[in-house]
């Protein structure tokens, strides 16, 4: 029983990471109707920047904040330079461009930091037992930081004027524009916030797995797509729930079944079966 609970906990932690990357993707889909595959690149850059800053400053908090801010700016840059110019193009054009961007980002990281995995260790001191479940101090800070950032993100969307504008644009860009909402700054804000939270996920995942490598974003890129589909495109709660569900599902399938599939394939199978049963996602509404 304790083992089972430990597995569930692991699944939830991994699922939280998925949710963090998928949240930005989902918001970006909401305002621009594009699948920003390169978003997983933000997570990779975030992890590497985080390690770089941590090694210089020895402050994990500084790593999280600085990495988040820098990557947020990079996200804004991508929107400004690439996607904004593709607004009137056929819908598969930004998708393909974004896949190209992702390839470029991964390769740039590989060239600058080297192809080998780098260790990312922070002083992990202390662990304690809660009813047979082992929790390290890092696990606790992991939970605090991830849910803190997700909470901030939701507050930003729900309570700020910009967040309100973003939600309006997600409903209808044209109507929002006619109501006097300046679309471009709001879209920039989405890219900043989304990239920020993806970068934080990257900084968290380093110590979680104890190492980072240039290809760490590959599975995230396509799993995050799966999650926003499962969550129903553009739904915040759906995305978070979808991410955690996927994390738990993966862990359980790997530990308790002998299905002859890799973890990625399991996630994708989950997606396919889910989509065929419920084509609009958990909380999604039918919309084209």
């Amino acid at each position: 029983m304790a083992l089972f609970a430990q597995q569930i906990l692991n699944g939830v932690l991994i699922g939280t990471l998925y949710a963090m990357v998928a949240l930005g993707l989902s918001m970006i889909y909401g305002v621009l109707r594009i699948l920003h595959v390169a978003h997983a690149g933000m997570y990779v850059i975030g992890a590497y920047l985080g390690l770089f800053i941590y090694l210089r400053t020895r402050s994990y908090l500084a790593a999280i904040l600085l990495s988040g801010i820098i990557v947020g700016l990079i996200g804004m840059l991508l929107e400004r330079v690439v996607y904004r110019r593709m607004f009137n193009y056929a819908r598969d054009v930004p998708l393909i461009a974004s896949i190209g961007l992702f390839v470029v980002i991964t390769d740039l990281v590989r060239i600058t930091a080297g192809p080998e995995p780098l260790p990312f260790l922070i002083g992990r001191t202390g662990a304690f037992n809660v009813g047979g479940i082992r929790l390290s101090n890092f696990d606790l800070s992991f939970v605090a930081v991830s849910w803190g950032v997700i909470g901030l993100f939701v507050l930003f969307l729900m309570k700020t004027k910009t967040g309100f504008a973003i939600r309006a644009i997600a409903q209808s860009r044209e109507v929002a524009q006619m109501m006097g909402i300046n679309v471009n700054p709001a879209v920039q804000a989405v890219f900043f916030a989304g990239s920020f939270i993806a970068a934080v996920a990257g900084v968290l995942v380093g110590p979680f797995y104890a190492y980072i490598d240039p290809n760490m974003g590959n599975t995230f890129a396509y799993k995050a797509l799966a999650i926003i589909v499962i969550g129903g495109f553009g739904s915040m709660i759906g995305t978070v729930v979808g991410g955690i569900l996927l994390g738990v599902f993966e862990v359980l399938m790997v530990v308790y079944t002998k299905l002859p599939l890799s973890q990625e394939a399991l996630a994708m199978l989950f997606l396919i079966v889910f989509l065929l049963i419920r084509p609009t996602g958990i909380f999604g509404s039918a919309r084209r």
């Binding site: 889909y29 109707r33 699948l35 690439v82 110019r85 593709m86 193009y89 056929a90 819908r91 598969d92 054009v93 930004p94 998708l95 393909i96 461009a97 896949i99 190209g100 961007l101 992702f102 390839v103 470029v104 991964t106 390769d107 740039l108 060239i111 396509y222 797509l225 799966a226 589909v229 495109f233 002859p260 599939l261 890799s262 990625e264 394939a265 996630a267 994708m268 199978l269 997606l271 396919i272 989509l275 065929l276 084509p279 084209r288």
Partner: protein, 563 residues
Amino acid sequence: MTDYLLTIATVVAINILVALGLNLITGYAGQPHLGIGVYTSIGAYTTALLLLAGMPLLVALVLALLGATLFGALTGLPSLRVNSDFLAVLTIGLAFVVESLYGYLPQEWFGGPLGLTEIPKPQLLGVQFGSGAMLGMAGIFVLAGIAFNRLLAKSWLGLAWRSVREDELASRVMGNSTARIKVIAFAIGAGYCGVAGFLYAQFMGSVSPSDFGFLPSLFVVTTIMLGGVGTIRGPVLGAILLGILPELFRFVQEYRNLIYGSLLVGVMLYQPSGLLGDESLLWRSLGDRRWRPRRREPDISLMPSVAVSAAMRGSEALTSLEVRDVSISFGGLKALDAVSLTVAPGRVLGVIGPNGAGKTSLFNIISGVLRPTGGTIRLNGEPIQGLRPDAISQLGIGRTFQIVRPFQNLSVLENVLVAYGAKHYMRPLACVRKYMDGAAVDAAMQLLASTGLQGHAHLAARTLPLGLQRRLEIARILALDAQVLLLDEPFSGLSAEEADSQKKLVLELKRQGRAIVLIEHNMEIAVDLCDWFVVLNFGRQIAEGVPSEVCENPMVIEAYLGK
């Protein structure tokens, strides 16, 4: 050295086949597919297993083709349920699952992660194929593939694919069974990949799961996007470029992915239709010098100007529509509550009412786009509710859209031909005949002449002003030989002159004995044209009668003007 060149050429040939296959699915039928490698893998594994078992080459070819085609049709089925963004993600999932399955299934089946090796080279009369013969075989398949693709591109089926790509709903309402059309695109596209896999297995001598996973599939998407999607020259050029460039850039091997990714982003930014796409700089600058077949312009001077000729009218049977107690709810909202109307041949029925009264919902129900929660709809006494939109169109109910939905990038003539083809040619065999053939074009041009569009026949529909787009929508449903016309605000947004000629057209259609249901906000026009009014407000039928009386009805005045 020659061997090296022959090898590259063979790889290019195989990639051309896969690219053409994907292009049929994505470029022609407009269905995104990021996992095309799964079909190639079916062809390759089938071939490998059969050849290793000592089966003859021809058996391997036939089964590779069949297997891929069937799997293509099967995996095309989800496209009927989900929208295109979902489909893109779903096909990524497919690529991962299939790749993983080959690797993780028992080693005896597919050889596990390392795949199958030592696949025998093809032989002819006991002599093993060398590099040259291998290239020759691949070349023959490529030429056959291009020839078949040309045939498809010019066929009724190809036209139907393009109509689905432009606007799936409009294509259905034009009488196309879009479900079948999409599945056929998946099947044929997958068939191309199956043949490519057949060649690949023999050429490489081994197959492994990672040859066909997501990244190789992505490479194919890049190929067609780079060259020019939706054309034949595009995938061919793309495959050649992507086959040769890595060889030229061998000295920067280290940065290959970087160059590849940047190229992709650059082309998408600056030449979004591909290097040789229809909108690309290169293709347009070639445009003036390019050879074009001469168009045969039918002699329309002999044709009636406004009257739609008897030839186009086809059946003389007069048709009437009867809607009885139709209701529909969205969530808790009753959008229509027991609405009834009847329209007889040669009559114009006006459906009027304020915005949100449920008028367009009514049209959506009659044309099969929405299913009513209750009530019956009869065409000449036969119940039709619950039929698919394309079946309803085929029975002779045509509709136009309040917000016009022409097939934007098809020519005006092609727009009409889509409907004409759906009615007359979308049968096995007939559907691969050329759509620009004499009889159909003559009939369509005659229709365009009768609706005043003949001068614009070869322009893309998106370039027409709104007034002409509205006429084009009417011309399309006339090509379906619709006897019941549902016209959704055909006058809205038209200038006074445009409205005037539109009015003449509607009167002419009425004179021909068609039954017309008209949604109109302009009371002057509505009173002028209609024989009978049905007034809706908040989904309920609040009045009906001859226009002059209805306009005096206090309830109607209140609905329009408020208390």
